[in-house]
């Protein structure tokens, strides 16, 4: 398979996912789009292996590796901080009944806002990866030009 065909297939998969997302919202079933997303990514990984004109050498592998590592190093801290806060909110139990404590857990983020915040975290992860990838690609000479 050629590289352009692969990009075309990825585009079609993205459109199909968008349609499934819309349907999933219509029938109020998040599992449909979740399952479709996993299947779509697995499919893309599978056809990615069939592309013949992708040249990946150790330098490009190192760029991807470094970008992924740095993204992970930054992202897990942000994600853990958010998750700890969310878990504390869910598991809120007044431990000392003698003291006057509020009956309801102090709501930092409502469930709806948590969803949006998670979406924001996902975008942050993508931006971090793209940013680090550009940085390492530049560091390892991706945009170097020569007289040749």
């Amino acid at each position: 398979m050629k590289k352009n065909t692969f990009y075309l297939v990825v585009g079609c998969v993205a459109l199909a996912l968008l349609a499934i997302f819309w349907y999933s919202v219509e029938v109020h079933s998040p599992f449909i789009v979740e399952a479709a997303f996993i299947v779509a990514i697995a499919f893309i990984y599978l056809i990615r292996k069939k592309v013949t004109d992708f040249i990946e050498d150790e330098r490009t592998a190192k760029i991807s590796e470094q970008a992924a590592l740095r993204t992970f190093q930054v992202f897990w801290v942000v994600f853990c901080a958010f998750s700890i806060g969310a878990v504390m909110q869910i598991l809120y139990v007044p431990a000392f009944p003698r003291e006057k404590l509020p009956v309801r857990a102090p709501e930092i983020l409502g469930p709806k806002m948590m969803g949006y915040f998670q979406l924001g975290l996902l975008c942050l992860m993508i931006f971090l990866y793209v940013g680090f990838r550009i940085y390492y690609a530049r560091k390892f000479g991706d945009w170097e030009t020569d007289e040749e």
Binding site: I55, D57, T60, K139, E144, D146
Partner: protein, 72 residues
């Protein structure tokens, strides 16, 4: 790490693309190595050296730290 890939390419009348194809990497990788932006792995260094029928030391020179031996 300094290298003489450009010199050896000129001696063997090879373009960056030719060398890249011969050792299975991209032209950009050869360019990055030549410009000192990327230090190749030992495996790739051997491939480059063998492509020119020379040793690694003929192409790559490690100049940063002088080799010292402590004798007590």
């Amino acid at each position: 790490m300094k290298n003489k890939i450009k010199v050896f390419r000129a001696m063997n009348d090879l373009t960056q693309e030719d060398l890249a194809q011969a050792i299975g990497v991209t032209r950009q990788t050869i360019l990055a190595i030549e410009k000192g932006k990327y230090v190749p792995s030992l495996d790739l260094a051997f491939k480059i050296a063998r492509n020119f029928n020379v040793t690694i030391e003929d192409i790559f020179q490690y100049e940063n730290a002088p080799l010292t031996v402590d004798i007590d």
